[in-house]
Every structure is written in structure tokens, then in C-alpha cells.
């Protein structure tokens, strides 16, 4: 009832967990049964290890949180050695999120992953991290660079290639079209929305980097609008994310035009929420006599 196909891969459910909200899959051992998920998108990996930004890196907001982690990660060499063997054993589909600062850097990381023999089904390319000076955002705001990067990576893999789009652009459709023209199999939308927090008592900004990325239920309407706009112009599938916390949220994204979705910030509070959403979606299909959840697509009466 929940099976969804993307390229040549069938996902058991349309529920993925978003990059940066599920680590490398091992952290939730004992807290959640990952086999019930469609898949895990692992934390962004870069060519070299990164310490990330100084503290404070997070703050709570109304219906959400701001983060400025700064792509802290162990680097692709350690990722291949330490994480891939574990990920290969997991009973769910793995998509590796890759971040970079320059074309050469994305390509090198990508080639090392591609040649390492992991069982992962695809890649999600982060061209939209708002939290580091060279976090790929120069790609994410430029249709030309997005297309170029997509083409370079496309020529290097037959696995699923997903470009992750930023809402912090003038027209997200232009970036989506560029990814499609470059040969992406799908886009995911959206990454976090740039925001800031201020502590009045201390007269201080709440994040070391001043600006950070807003996530959580607060950004769901922004994300829905982006998915809806992208759906009007793209022919490749859209993976929707931004504030999804319930099965009802998932249904909204499917109605807006998403084929798959990612559950993100809610994982911190409820590491097994993705699994309960799947149960709720099955119940929804049964109640509505649907044989597949995607029958809902195109039913939006605007």
C-alpha cells in the first residue's frame, strides 16, 4: 500500500528520514526499528573531516528550532571505512547525502563513495546548506552551477541522484529545472530556511554564526508551497520535506505533488515517528479503499 518507485528502486514506504536528523543509522539502535522506514538519508559527508561551527549551534523557536552545525562530519574516508560496513547490514535503503565547497570537492567525495562498494541506492546532494561560508550555497542559488554539478555527478553514477534544494532563493523552480536538465532523478525540497534568534536579556544573538537554518513544523507551509510550485514545472519526482511530524502532514505533501517525503526535526523528539507515520498511512489507505498512497496525487482541488 505504501510502495513507491524512484528510478529503478522500489521503496517499501515513501517515508525517508532527513539528512542530519538520523545520524548514520547506528545512533538509534534500540530506539527505533529502521526496517519499517523507506530509507535513511545519512548525515552530510564531505571530502575532509569537519569540526563544524563553535557553540551555541542550536536554539528552540516557536514550533521549530534553528541550527548552525556547519556540516560537522567525519569525512568521506572515515565514512567509507567506519560507516559503510554498518550501513550495508541495515535492513532499509540508504541514500548518502554529500556536501561540498567546490565542484572538484563534490566530485572527489562522490567518486570515493561510488567506488567503495556500498549497498546504498543513491545520493542526495546538498547544494543548500545555509550554515557554512562555502556550504555549496553558491551552487544552490545558481541554476547554471546546479545544472553543471548535476551533470558531472550524473555522468559518474547509475544510482539515484537527488539534488536538495534551498528555499532561500528567488525562484526555486529555476533551480529545480536546472537539476532536471542536468539529469537528476529527483529533487528534495526544502532544506532549512535562514533565520536568527536574539536573547533580549543578554543582548546577544542565540547562534554563534548569527544566522542559522530554521526547521520543524514552523516551516511546513513554506515547504508545501515550494513542492507545489516545483510540481507544476518538473517532470521528475519531488521528495517533500519541511516540518513533517504526522501522517496528515505526509498526506498534505503528497497532495501538493510529492512522491516521497522525509521526516526530519521530529526525529530528535520521537526517533520512531517515521514508523508510526507508516502505520497511520496504511490505516488511511484502508479507510479510503486505496491500494496505494500515491493515488492521492493529483487530487488537490485548488
Amino acid at each position: 500500500m505504501l510502495k513507491v518507485k524512484l528510478k529503478d528502486i522500489t521503496f517499501d514506504t515513501p517515508i525517508l528520514v532527513a539528512s542530519g536528523t538520523y545520524g548514520y543509522g547506528n545512533e538509534v539502535e534500540g530506539l527505533a526499528d529502521v526496517s519499517k522506514l523507506g530509507g535513511i538519508i545519512t548525515k552530510s559527508v564531505t571530502r575532509l573531516p569537519r569540526e563544524g561551527n563553535p557553540p551555541p549551534r542550536i536554539t528552540e523557536t516557536a514550533a521549530g528550532m534553528l541550527n548552525s552545525i556547519g556540516l560537522a562530519n567525519l569525512g568521506v574516508e572515515a565514512y567509507c571505512k567506519e560507516k559503510i560496513p554498518f550501513l550495508n547490514e541495515l535492513d532499509t535503503k540508504i541514500i548518502i547525502n554529500v556536501a561540498g565547497t567546490a565542484m572538484s570537492d563534490y566530485i572527489e567525495t562522490f567518486e570515493m563513495l561510488e567506488n567503495h562498494g556500498g549497498n546504498h541506492v543513491g545520493y542526495e546532494i546538498n547544494i543548500s546548506c545555509p550554515n557554512v561560508k562555502e556550504g555549496g550555497m553558491e551552487f544552490g542559488v545558481s541554476p547554471k552551477m546546479t545544472e553543471q554539478l548535476t551533470k558531472e555527478l550524473r555522468s559518474r553514477t547509475d544510482r539515484i541522484l537527488i539534488m536538495k534544494l534551498s528555499p532561500n532563493v528567488t525562484r526555486i523552480q529555476d533551480i529545480g529545472l536546472a537539476a532536471e536538465a542536468g539529469g537528476a532523478d529527483a529533487v528534495s525540497a526544502i532544506n532549512t530556511v535562514v533565520g536568527m534568534g536574539i536573547d533580549v536579556k543578554k543582548r546577544k544573538v542565540k547562534l554563534h554564526t548569527i544566522y542559522g537554518g530554521l526547521s520543524g513544523p514552523a516551516i511546513k507551509p513554506v515547504a508545501l508551497a515550494c513542492v507545489h510550485k516545483l510540481n507544476k514545472v518538473l517532470s521528475i519526482p519531488i521528495i517533500g520535506l519541511g516540518g513533517i511530524s504526522t501522517a496528515e502532514d505526509v498526506l498534505e505533501f503528497i497532495l501538493a505533488g510529492a512522491d516521497l517525503v522525509q521526516v526530519g526535526t521530529i526525529n530528535y523528539k520521537h526517533p520512531s515517528r517515521g514508523m508510526t507515520i507508516c502505520d497511520d498511512l496504511i490505516a488511511f489507505c484502508k479507510e479510503n479503499n486505496m491500494s496505494n498512497i500515491l493515488e492521492l496525487q493529483g487530487q488537490l482541488d485548488k
Binding site: G20, T21, Y22, G23, E27, V28, E29, G30, L31, K43, L48, P49, R50, E51, G52, N53, P54, P55, P56, R57, I58, T59, E60, A63, G64, M65, N67, I69, A72, N73, L74, G75, A78, G216, P217, T265, I266, N267, Y268, K269, P271, S272
Partner: protein, 265 residues
């Protein structure tokens, strides 16, 4: 390994001014928790903030665990109002724990940070290990145990209304006659200024010292990478991960005083 379990509230007791101790029946967590470790709490079913509230465990007995907290915000207000037999969603035990050595333990706690030192105090009592307990607060009504220097229980107040007049450093100075601090190991948890003051003394006098840091956390188990602390630089400028910035939830919350750059997070 951490568990997510539905714990049952067994008691809620006001032990000092605006300070509460709660016992929860939590069979899985109580089995494996050690002093210094914490749990991440969903304050209520209707909790609509995106983060749980991390709390150090203040004790474990049979299938129960304890926490001690001050009601200072919407999360801790909800916890103060828990009713007996209410089911509460917990994740834990999380983080590392204190490591006892053959040196004399000197436990230093203050404010909301008394929980892990209280846990260790009771564990040392049960094992019959001789040790000191120094607790600091602003004023008398925040204390919940007696000031008994002969029994190595040393209470301090900033306003001098109870026990030693001054902060925990003044309390620490009172035991120097009995104990050379080079023979002691300090175990510290409390407000940042208190921990920072003890850290400075420990580092300058080369006293063994472990500090349980506190900061904002989203997940508590290494995923969000938000609860960062900074290590004292080891001089390396290589590209590294968790060498300059550690995670309080995974690499801590307990760190050695000499590896912490600052307790202000």
C-alpha cells in the same frame, strides 16, 4: 544502549525552594544507569516544543530512577505538575558517567546541577567510600540537607544565610586542612559560573577533576550535533572531527577539567 520507555510517576516531592525530586518507575533505564548519566524527558503528551528536556539522574533504586529539578520554564513547570501514576516518555540512559579513582572523592554541586552529585553521594555511601559533599546555593531555602562539616557535608550560601558564607570554592577551602587536594578527585556539576570557578582551581592546582557539563540538546544521542563544547586546543590544525568540538551528549556530559576550554556553553 539507550531505551525509550514509558515510565510511571511514583512520587513528586518539593525538597527545597522551587526544587522538586521525582521518582519514576523505569525498569529498563534504572537497570543500567550510572551517576553522571542523563535522560531526555518528554514533559507531557501535549508537549509541542521540538526538543525534549534533558535531566541528570539523581538516583536509582530497584526499578526506580530519580530526578531533581527547579521549576523554571514550561517544561519543568509541567514536570512539577505530574500526577502520581502518570506515564512519562523517557529516553535513556544517555552519555558517559563519573569515574571513581583511588583518590578521595570530593563532590561539588550547585543549583540545578546537584542531581548527578547527589546520585554519586548516595552510591558512595552505599559502598562505604569516605568522601566529601559540598553544595552551593544563593540562599538557605535552596538547601535540602544539613550542614555537618564533621560528617563531611558542607553547605555554602552566597548570602551567608546557611552553612559556609560564600560559594563552593569557599567550601572547598574549608576541607584543605583535612585533605591535601592533590589526594582528592573533584566531581562537579552546577551552574556554569560555579563549574568554571572550580575548573580554574583544578587546572591551576593540577587537581584531578571531572565536570558534568550542561547545555541545550535536541536529541541527546549524537544525531543533531547541536550540544557542542570546546576542547582545550591540542595545537593540531589538521582537518578533524570532534577533536576541537565535542558533543556533550555523546563525548560527555562528563569531561576532565583540563580538557574543557570553558564551562560557559
Amino acid at each position: 544502549m539507550a531505551f525509550q520507555e514509558s515510565a510511571r510517576v511514583k512520587s513528586v516531592e518539593k525538597i527545597a525552594h522551587n526544587t522538586f525530586q521525582v521518582f519514576l518507575e523505569s525498569p529498563q533505564i534504572s537497570k543500567s544507569v550510572s551517576p553522571g548519566q542523563f535522560i531526555n524527558i518528554l514533559p507531557s503528551d501535549e508537549w509541542d516544543r521540538v526538543m525534549r528536556r534533558p535531566m541528570s539522574v539523581s538516583g536509582a533504586e530497584g526499578s526506580d530512577i530519580g530526578i531533581i529539578f527547579k521549576a523554571v520554564g514550561s517544561g519543568t513547570d509541567a514536570m512539577r505538575d505530574w500526577s502520581i501514576d502518570e506515564e512519562v516518555d523517557l529516553v535513556g540512559p544517555l552519555g558517559n558517567s563519573w569515574s571513581i579513582s583511588d583518590k578521595v572523592p570530593v563532590l561539588i554541586g550547585g543549583g540545578v546541577g546537584i542531581a548527578p552529585t547527589w546520585f554519586l553521594h548516595n552510591e558512595l555511601l552505599a559502598k562505604g567510600v569516605d568522601h566529601y559533599l559540598i553544595m552551593g546555593s544563593r540562599t538557605a531555602n535552596e538547601h535540602f540537607i544539613e550542614h555537618a562539616p564533621k560528617e563531611k557535608l558542607i553547605m555554602c550560601t552566597d548570602d551567608g544565610s546557611f552553612g559556609i558564607s560564600g560559594n563552593v570554592i569557599a567550601g572547598l577551602d574549608t576541607i584543605r586542612e583535612d585533605l591535601a587536594l592533590s589526594e582528592a578527585k573533584l566531581f562537579v556539576c552546577g551552574p556554569a559560573p560555579m563549574m568554571e570557578a572550580v575548573r580554574e582551581v583544578a587546572v591551576s592546582e593540577k587537581i584531578d577533576c571531572e565536570i558534568a557539563l550542561e547545555t541545550l540538546m535536541a536529541c541527546g544521542f549524537g544525531i543533531c550535533q547541536g550540544c557542542t563544547m570546546e576542547y582545550v586546543s591540542n595545537g593540531s590544525s589538521a582537518d578533524t572531527y570532534r577533536n576541537k568540538f565535542g558533543l556533550v551528549c555523546m563525548d560527555g556530559p562528563v569531561f576532565k577539567a583540563e580538557e574543557i576550554k570553558t564551562c560557559y556553553l
